[in-house]
Amino acid sequence: MNTTTTRRSGFARLLRAEWTKFRTVRGWVLAMAGAALITVLLGLLSASGSHTSCDGACPAVPVGPGGEAVEDKFYFVHRPLNGDGSITVRVTSMTGQKRLPDSTPGSRRVASGVVPWAKAGVMIKESMKQGSTYAAVMVTGAHGVRMQHDFTQDVAGRPGGVSQRSPRWLRLTRSGADLTGYESTDGRQWSQVGTAHLAGLPDAVQIGLFAASPGDLTVTPGDFGGSSAASRFAAATAVFDQVSLRGSAADGAWRPDDVGVTLNPDGSPHHPGGFKESGDTYTVTGVGDIAPLSDGQQIENTLTGVLAGLIVVIVVAVMFITTEYRRGLIRTTLLAGPRRGRTLVAKALAIGAVTFVIGLVAATAAVTLGKAILVANGNYVLPVAPFTEPRVIVGTAVLLGAAAVLALAVGTLFRRSVAAVITAIVLIVVPYILATASVLPAGAAQWLMRLTPAAGFAIQQSIPAYAHVLGNYTPSGGYYPLAPWAGLAVLCGYAALTLGLAVFQLRRRDA
């Protein structure tokens, strides 16, 4: 009895059979195409709803050496340095002021105090250009001594603040492209804080004293969950003395610069910093921050349609197995593939792969077109590292694929469409909505994004949260508690676990 055979392993045959099953039901194919379409259209709709306009051209946002948008705004008292050298100072005081809400309009109220990440110290910077590479050793408002470089890097030194009675000595040395930061409590005993390698640092750099203060951030829990954040102007003032320079630094006067200061319409600086020199004592006041910037459109804002697409995917993936139960077709399936575990895994792989491809197409279109629309509408889209955008797009496709596998497994366990669809939505979609829709306190929202399959959405976060930048890092703001791949791993773990459970049940049950 001869039949045409092809050389394929049993599993590949099952996989092909499941693909044939999928593509021969027009409703499923159309629904999946619809999922892609709705993902793209909703994303573009939300992108086209965002408009930004500036008086004239919007100011260019500086970009750091790592490619990220940065805020590079501080008061810098500097002079040129050629080649190797070092700067050593004593910081004897750090004070500041924060603006309070106006109680009577027009009269400005301020209170004294420093914000936690107010910073002042010594810096070596490539040039006066905003976003250029730098390294700095500094005292901070509430986080002790730090060494930071290139906006995103931060190393902790000793804790504690500075005062007249307990000053801090800071030193930054340059040897080629390698910079080393030191601190001391007495000017004799030095300990290293950290090192930085600044690739491409030119021979001629700027060296000097700086001060900066990010705004005073207040996060208020909302009446119905969620939170709102407000940032008010703050300034930091540091007093330096015992300044000594080594190396071929230019002699003569220090040059004060209010780097990146905002100008009022009349040309005067808005919230200016300042510099006073009295004998060997230098007083520097700075406003602003030297840190990555998170104000702007994130590329994942173009993926708001994924949630709607996900619901369609869940329905199709559930139906892919539950209709077999409803019609008794599952028996035919198990006759063709009596090794049930392999058969179900083939089915899961088929629907997962279909969804992945659909998701990849949809996410690519949504991000590419959405970004173009955002930019055309005058919005600033935060730049990301070269591999971040592919990660967001491919990750979104994996997210959808894993969700499809999870839904299929739930469908196998329940054998009924409605119960399975509801369960899958409750597992993936509902936690995401609860966590991001400002209905829960931030803590609860973060736990949902850690523990439920919705953790997978972390793969879409393109702008990381930085420990050295105070922000309202909540899921509703697009900041998830787990790292992107860790979050996706949680979702994939759920999918694998549920599929394992479904295989166990399928093996145990009579068909």
């Binding site: 045959r13 092909r16 059979a17 099953k21 021969t24 008794g328 063709a336 090794r339």
Partner: protein
Amino acid sequence: MRATIEVAGLCKRFGQTMALDGMSFTVEPGQVTGFVGPNGAGKSTTMRVILGLDAADEGTALVGGRPYPGLRDPLRHVGALLDAAALQPSRTGRNHLLWLAHSQGLGARRVDEVIERVGLGSAAGRRAGGFSLGMRQRLGIAAALLGDPPVLLLDEPSNGLDPEGIVWMRGFLRGLAAQGRAVLVSSHLMSELEDTADHLVVVGRGRVVADTSVAGLIAAASTGRVALRTTAPSQAMAALAHAGAVVAATGRDTLTVTGLEGEHVVAVLNRSAVPFSEVSAHRATLEEAYMELTRDAVEFRAAGQEAAR
């Protein structure tokens, strides 16, 4: 692979009910084996156990000497039609066969072959949801034939077929057996199998009550019964009783004689000068034989249960 089905000592309990209670039989190649018994006798459950869909509590079921789940590309070894309605309604008949073919490493050409073979023709391109029961049965047969298997299991294949379809099915099954395949066909109506099956496995209450050839079953049920028509029934009864027969009056001038062959009955009546107009061997129908067997099985079971108490 040897084209056989071997079932030995299958037991399966659904809650309080023993669905299978020591079911044992063998299906040989080259003939159609009828698997017959009243509804609920365990035919479908046995078939599902043979096909690895249900697990038996005890016993073994082997196809060609191997358990079904151990078969590589199982549809090339065993073809089965369990439930012709088990179709995705929005998928065409042809595509239904296509995914099954792909699962066994077969191509579209084989699909078109079996479509032709069962006479589905261009209807195969329509959505299966719109198929009549007869078309579904043909599609189910096509699916069973897809892998050109040496063993076939068909659960009530004539269900819902029109008389023409029943005749077609009968010829089809006989043709498959003639090719040397083992064909097991279940039915709850003996009449359906009368002209189809060579061999019968009669089941009742989860066990085999008869495992015999069709001819043997009829012979056993007909043995030693002679119908007699006479104008002198009382004379005839006396003469035949004297010769050792058991005689029962079945009408005003008809008798049934048990215990004597037909020619002996004639000889006795001639010797005693009893007039008679007709002597015939009483031939039981398969239906009668089957009714008798399954009734016995039911009674036996009831008695057994009482004894066990």
